[in-house]
């Protein structure tokens, strides 16, 4: 279904890059060290190459579906039932990510800056940010990404470059780290790092054409891969292996290392603001897409009445884990193991089904008259 809102490539790229790279500010470099030891950077290259190949395959399958998102395609492939099933799977993923990320960011913020504040208070700030952003709509979210993401990238690069003098090449030895299983076996599951590509498969109605879809995907993957690899490399180079496993916020630790004279030190303050900006943008995108998917799955006319209930659900679920360790454990057990499947396998299945049904001529006509959906609701604008 086409939308009234169409935004440019840069806005879409910024959205995808932030949602992928926001994990850098959490524990991504450390998790690479846990998996593959000093070969964490090789692991990153490995699953990035697989991601590019999978995206190439998905974009080929997408070629025939101009400005249709995953739910439209599910409907083409299997009618309303498949649309609802796919929508619920994606919705579950988004709610889970939203909950985990909200709690994880809040816990980390509490540890680095607000140690005396209750966790619900810290989470409240992020919840307000995501609810207001969802209220203002996708247009505002992507435009804000377009302005803020370059600044976040610059701040991250600044921290990484400033930490280079502390890097020692010997910290990368042994080159193959924990060995083949760590790089290739665990690395395959780390495809989930790129699970925010799922948002790209929900974006086609808002992007001009198929060419833009592919360009956005490749450029966003390229920038994200560069940043992920850069952060892992600098972290692995800056600390010896045993220390790499100690820190829960690797980039924060890198920022704390920086010390050039009496004045130019304690740059972790830069980290805190960058961290919070990335988190608020990421969470606002998650909430919007969760509501958007729910609305589209059940063909509702408006999204704004859903904002408060969804925010309350994510906020409440976020309070359930006992502590940060539980959250990280949940993330490892669920996100890493299953989300790559939802991000890459589900679209391949849906696209294949839709193509088969299109070839056999039995695809249901999912598109209503222009400007109306089946419920006769006004044309989707993402702003109601």
């Amino acid at each position: 279904m086409e939308s009234d809102i169409v935004f440019g490539r840069w806005e879409a790229i910024a959205l995808i890059v932030n949602t992928i790279c926001a994990r850098i500010f959490l524990n991504f470099p450390r998790s690479m060290a846990e998996d593959a030891g000093t070969a964490g950077w090789l692991e990153t290259i490995y699953f990035t190459i697989i991601t590019f190949l999978l995206f190439w395959l998905i974009s080929k399958l997408y070629a025939k579906f101009n400005r249709q998102d995953l739910l439209d395609i599910a409907e083409l492939g299997g009618g309303g039932i498949l649309r609802v099933v796919s929508g619920l799977i994606i919705l579950a993923l988004l709610l889970f990510i939203g909950t985990i990320i909200l709690r994880e960011y809040s816990e980390n913020m509490k540890i680095i800056a607000l140690s005396d504040s209750p966790i619900s208070f810290v989470m409240g700030f992020f919840a307000v940010a995501m609810a207001v952003a969802a209220y203002l709509g996708l247009e505002g979210i992507v435009r804000s990404h377009a302005i803020v993401v370059p600044q976040i990238i610059l701040a991250l690069l600044f921290i990484l470059v400033a930490a280079v003098p502390y890097c020692k090449p010997t910290n990368l030895l042994p080159v193959l780290g924990n060995g083949g299983y760590g790089i290739l076996g665990k690395g395959f599951l780390r495809l989930s790092t790129y699970s925010p590509l799922l948002y790209l498969f929900l974006l086609p109605p808002f992007i001009k054409d198929q060419k833009s879809f592919k360009a956005v995907g490749y450029i966003a993957l390229g920038i994200s891969a560069f940043l992920l690899l850069g952060s892992v490399l600098v972290y692995l180079l800056a600390y010896p292996y045993p220390t790499q496993l100690e820190y829960f916020l690797p980039v924060f630790q890198l920022a704390r290392l920086i010390n050039y004279g009496r004045l130019f030190q304690r740059l972790e303050s830069l980290f805190v603001i960058t961290f919070a900006a990335a988190a608020m943008h990421y969470l606002s995108a998650i909430l919007f897409f969760a509501i958007h998917v729910f609305k589209k799955t059940f063909k509702l006319a408006y999204h704004r009445p859903l904002i408060l209930p969804f925010t309350a659900i994510i906020f409440t679920l976020g309070l359930l884990p006992n502590n940060l360790m539980t959250v990280i454990d949940l993330e490892t057990k669920v996100s890493v193991r299953f989300f790559w499947g939802v991000t890459f396998i589900l679209p391949i299945i849906l696209l294949s089904l839709a193509r088969i049904r299109a070839v056999s001529g039995s695809a249901p006509r999912s598109q209503g008259p222009p400007g109306k959906n089946k419920a006769g609701a006004p044309k989707e604008s993402g702003e109601r």
Binding site: V128, G140, R304
Partner: protein, 574 residues
């Protein structure tokens, strides 16, 4: 009380949103035949009921016709102008000699609004005395004869509706009624006192023109026209205000400005249904998109050179009679940071000024909030020496830093407000009170710490460096929000403030143009004069987000002499 419950209900329960037409800026290819023609303006033609029926005078028709009987016109005019209650309404009755017969006539005007000398020499004298001369003409019709041979004034109109005459008289004109004519003459003989062209008060520059607008509409339009010597510069008159009928002028360059922006400005102005409009500030509030967004949606400037420069980019200006501030729309957040001087000084100087201004804005908005955040939550982020200095300075202060900074900020706002309202002669007293009592004495009494005085002073100086005073207001308001957020959650609170502030800005529009264009959304075209300024010869295109009819401002090589030197080569081989 019911209002409170309605508001509460609105927050809790969902109501179907009322359909609201949103203005969307159209691209120029959708303008039809592709010619650069604008749609032509609509024709411009005492009781409450009469006023409501007739609107603000912009609509043709629905007006009281002029009678052929002079007595009827006289009584109608007396009724409309409340004669004799109105003491400054002057009615002068006289006879005009046309051929061999004397025709009764009368003239009406406001005393003090017209130039008496012009009325006497160019209107009464020819009508009463020169009409006795033997004029060689075979013109038989009385109106044409009077217009062609007797009225020597340069601006005479023949109007057929009484309301048109009334409108002209209200704006310093003279109405002349002649017996037997179903029309009247109006002459523009404005002579009311007004301020002369002076230096602008709020937008001073060192280099560049030193003229500012006055309160007189025609002076203001002329100040712009004398800079833009372009016959495609259009000045459309619109009357706003059901009673005041305030003359406004919509100005744009016909073959540059986007038609849909011009039409939208015209539509919004003509739709205003208020009785009195006194100033462009009121017009701004009637036509802006969002009332509660702190940032202004249009540039209010008292500099004709700035309006001229903005018009050449494809914008539209509104000049309001009685206001020395012109409104220019659409605008973006980045343009509100520009100063007219940026165009007149060389690139390195302009960029230095812009950098200083960006720093000033950041300081004005965030410094108090950051101070609170750091002193309350992130002490570890300060270098140890600085932290010890701050703590030593705060040692004897009995208040928490939030109360301390609020005391100082509120005091500073009081001084600022008092400084504007205070009579000029006792102005220096305020400086002494502010400096001594709030500065020295407050520190001596350990009510505030010296470092806080520095923070508040730098913040104040920063806010003075913001070139657009409406934008500076916006920063003053938001600063308090950042202080509260900084006190609540340190950098997390500040980040939330920046996020929400940014979201409201990126979702705002000024006459269909996104407020954060050309960055969000990123539009095509160069960024030569957005944040920092490129050399003037590299600014080849007009802002793309305005969808101008003519996008090219100058060719790729705008300095012809460069090409000539390249061919010949200069002595350095460059």
């Amino acid at each position: 009380m019911s209002g409170f419950f309605d508001t509460l209900k609105g927050w809790l329960l969902f109501a179907e949103p009322a359909p609201r037409e949103q203005f969307i800026l159209r691209e120029n290819e959708s303008e039809g035949d592709g010619s650069l023609k604008n749609s032509q303006p609509e024709g411009t033609t005492s009781s409450k009921k009469r006023r409501r029926q007739k609107g603000n005078g912009n609509d043709a028709g629905a007006t009281q016709p002029i009678s052929r009987r002079l007595a009827d016109n006289l009584s109608a005019i007396k009724e409309r102008f409340n004669v004799p209650t109105n003491s400054d309404v002057m009615i002068r009755e006289f006879d005009i000699i046309v051929g061999k017969k004397a025709i009764a006539a009368f003239m009406i005007y406001y005393d003090g609004m017209v130039d008496r000398k012009v009325v006497n020499d160019d209107l009464l004298l020819p009508l009463m005395l020169l009409s006795n001369l033997d004029i060689k003409s075979d013109e038989a019709r009385v109106p044409a004869y009077i217009r062609s041979h007797l009225l020597t004034h340069n601006q005479i109109k023949v109007v057929s509706a009484l309301d048109q005459v009334v409108g002209e008289i209200n704006f310093g004109g003279v109405g002349i009624f002649v017996d037997g004519m179903d029309s009247a003459f109006t002459a523009d003989v404005k002579g009311f006192e007004h301020r002369t062209v002076e230096r602008p008060n709020t937008e001073m520059v060192i280099r560049g023109p030193q003229e500012g607008f006055t309160e007189t509409i025609r002076v203001n339009t002329a100040l712009i026209r004398k800079r833009l010597k372009d016959e495609d510069l259009i000045v459309e008159d619109v009357l706003v205000g059901l009673r005041s009928k305030t003359p406004c002028a919509i100005m744009y360059i016909r073959d540059i400005a986007n038609d849909s922006i011009v039409a939208e400005v015209r539509r919004r102005l003509k739709s205003i249904q208020s009785d009195y409009i006194h100033d462009s500030g009121e017009i701004e509030q009637f036509i802006e998109e969002s009332t509660f967004l702190t940032s202004p949606h249009m540039v209010a400037t008292e500099r004709p050179d700035r309006v001229a420069a903005l018009l050449t980019e494809g914008r539209v200006a509104v000049i309001v009679h009685g206001s020395p501030f012109a409104l220019v729309m659409p605008t973006t957040a980045f343009e509100l940071v520009h100063s007219p001087e940026d165009h007149y000084v060389r690139v390195p100087y302009a960029n230095l000024l812009r950098a200083v201004r960006i720093l000033a804005m950041t300081v004005a908005l965030l410094l108090p909030g950051l101070y609170i955040a750091i002193t309350n939550f992130h002490q570890g982020m300060l270098p140890t020496g600085l932290l010890l200095s701050i703590e030593a300075a705060r040692e004897r202060v009995p208040f928490p830093s939030l109360v301390e900074i609020l005391i100082m900020e509120v005091s500073f706002e009081l001084i600022r407000e008092a400084g504007i309202r205070i009579p000029g002669t006792i102005g220096p007293t305020l400086g002494i009170i502010g400096a001594l009592i709030l500065g020295q004495a407050a520190v001596a009494a350990s009510i505030v710490s010296p470092i806080l005085i520095i923070v508040v002073a730098i913040t104040g100086i920063g806010s003075f460096a913001i070139p657009n005073f409406s934008y500076a207001y916006s920063f003053r308001i938001l600063r308090f929000g950042y202080i509260i957020l900084g006190a609540l959650a340190g950098f997390l609170g500040i980040s939330l403030g920046l996020f929400l502030h940014g979201m409201t800005l990126v979702t705002s529009k000024s006459f269909g143009v996104p407020f954060m264009a050309p960055f969000a959304p990123r539009t095509a075209g160069d960024l030569g004069d957005v944040v920092f300024k490129e050399p003037i010869w590299k600014q080849e295109r007009r802002p793309d987000y305005l969808e101008p009819k003519d996008e090219v401002r100058q060719p790729k090589i705008s300095r012809g002499w460069i090409g000539q030197q390249d061919r010949g080569g200069d002595q350095h081989g460059e």
